[in-house]
């Protein structure tokens, strides 16, 4: 069994679908931060059998919870201070996400207009369907995110 040490201050993303941690690492922009990150793949889990875990030693404010909620709102976010869990954040599907996804509709105005933010709006919460704010093209999160 591999042991990864505790972090003093930062956050732990638990219950990540096995094998998806690297995608989440990049989608959260953790590759651009100058802090310690531990990526644990295929850890044993009672609930999920196998899971990934990310341990990040930086301020929780550096984490975009909306993006994470969009990627997979089943992930558990543990906030760590002085080596202890001080908070557990519940993730929700964000109503709107900006500059995370690109619209793939070649007829969408985002394909030509410079400086336009990419905005997707939650149009069907039950089925987790997002649509481009401009052209209403459907985006299905499961095909491009960290979910199992």
């Amino acid at each position: 069994m591999l042991n990864v040490g505790k972090i003093e201050e930062g956050f732990v993303l638990d219950h990540i679908c096995a094998g998806k941690s690297m995608e989440i690492y990049y989608q959260l922009g953790l590759d651009k931060l100058d802090c310690t990150v531990a990526i644990i793949k295929n850890a044993k889990s009672g609930k999920m059998l196998r899971k990934d875990i990310l341990k990040v030693e930086c301020d929780i404010d550096m984490l975009n919870l909306d993006v994470l909620g969009f990627i997979d709102h089943n992930i558990t976010v543990n906030v760590i201070k002085n080596g202890c869990i001080v908070d557990k954040r519940k993730l929700e599907l964000p109503k709107e996400i900006r500059n995370v996804l690109r619209c793939h509709n070649p007829r969408c105005i985002t394909s030509i207009e410079q400086g336009l933010p990419d905005i997707f709006v939650l149009s069907d919460e039950k089925n987790e369907i997002y649509r481009c704010r401009y052209c209403e093209e459907r985006y299905t999160p499961t095909s491009h995110t960290g979910r199992c």
Partner: protein, 303 residues
């Protein structure tokens, strides 16, 4: 300040008021002939659309206003690479209201977010064409006397036809409407629309042959199979003449059924049908002018 991006931007009550205004314009055109004196409409048409552009321009001229604009992207600064947001900022300094058609979906919304004048979406790609839907609703309301309690058949290209999708969405807000979708299998109405109808408990049928349902229709909305929506020429050629409404098919219909068409027509309605009093697609064009006049007045807060 309000814009019009989708037919659903107005509530049912607001639409009723708009239709009442359009009706009053139809009855008393002289009353409105000077309402927009000194006002300018900019028609920004990034792709050709003679009918819609001329309808907007006629509407503004009927109100005593003036018109500026361009009829295709090649004759505008967009050919030099100007963005939609820059163009509308400039046009806002010239005109009081703007109608924009653009091949890119969502372009009028981008314009609206940077504009200091009302923007009307005059068609954005395969996405929305709200003034066509308002025209269709006004035509039905004026000639049928109501916007509820009928069976409507929508025929032709139900897959790519934005006018059809938009009209269905607009009619969902009225009661006791039954839909019959008449199309070849390849051009069926998208699943998200039928899913929504099922969810709302609104009755619908999908049929292939027009003859199967002619007798039960109160309204028949014909559409053209649009070449520009196909990536494959072969598919277009195979499907373009799938439906042709002719006098023989019209003889199966109710005496008070109405035939609508957003135009232009190609082959899907034979010219003999034009003589039938139930063919109202040219009246529909006239209603298009009335509704655009009403819309300009409402968005300029003149009436």
């Amino acid at each position: 300040m309000r814009h019009l991006m989708s037919p659903l931007d107005f509530s049912v009550e607001e639409l009723d008021q708009l239709f009442d205004l359009a009706h009053d314009i139809e009855e008393n055109p002289a009353k409105y002939s000077g309402k927009c004196t000194g006002k300018k409409l900019a028609t920004l048409f990034y792709e050709p659309s003679t009918r819609t552009r001329l309808s907007f321009e006629t509407a503004m001229l009927n109100l005593g206003g003036n018109v500026i604009g361009f009829a295709d992207a090649a004759s505008s600064s967009v050919s030099k690479g100007e963005s939609v947001s820059d163009t509308i900022r400039v046009i806002s300094c010239f005109a009081d209201i703007c109608a924009m058609r653009h091949p890119k979906e969502g372009a009028p919304m981008v314009a609206a977010s940077h504009s200091s004048i009302p923007v009307i979406n005059a068609g954005d790609g395969g996405h929305q064409h709200p003034t066509q839907t308002l025209t269709d609703l006004l035509t039905i309301r004026s000639l049928k006397g109501r916007l509820s309690g009928f069976t409507i058949g929508l025929c032709g290209d139900l897959k790519f036809g934005r006018t059809v999708h938009s009209l269905i969405n607009a009619l969902l807000r009225y009661s006791d409407i039954r839909f019959i979708f008449i199309s070849p299998v390849e051009l069926r109405v998208p699943d998200y629309i039928t899913d929504n109808l099922r969810k709302l408990g609104i009755p619908y049928q999908e049929v292939i042959k027009l003859e199967e349902c002619m007798g039960s229709l109160d309204l028949l909305y014909m559409t053209r199979v649009q070449k520009e929506r196909f990536f494959n020429e072969e598919d277009y050629v195979r499907l373009k003449d799938f439906y042709i409404l002719d006098p023989a098919k019209m003889s199966l219909a109710k005496p008070d059924m109405l035939v609508l068409h957003p135009l232009p027509r190609v082959n899907e309605i034979s010219v003999e049908v034009d003589q039938d009093p139930r063919a109202v697609y040219f009246k529909q064009v006239q209603y298009g002018v009335y509704i655009r006049m009403a819309l300009i007045l409402r968005l300029l807060e003149i009436a």
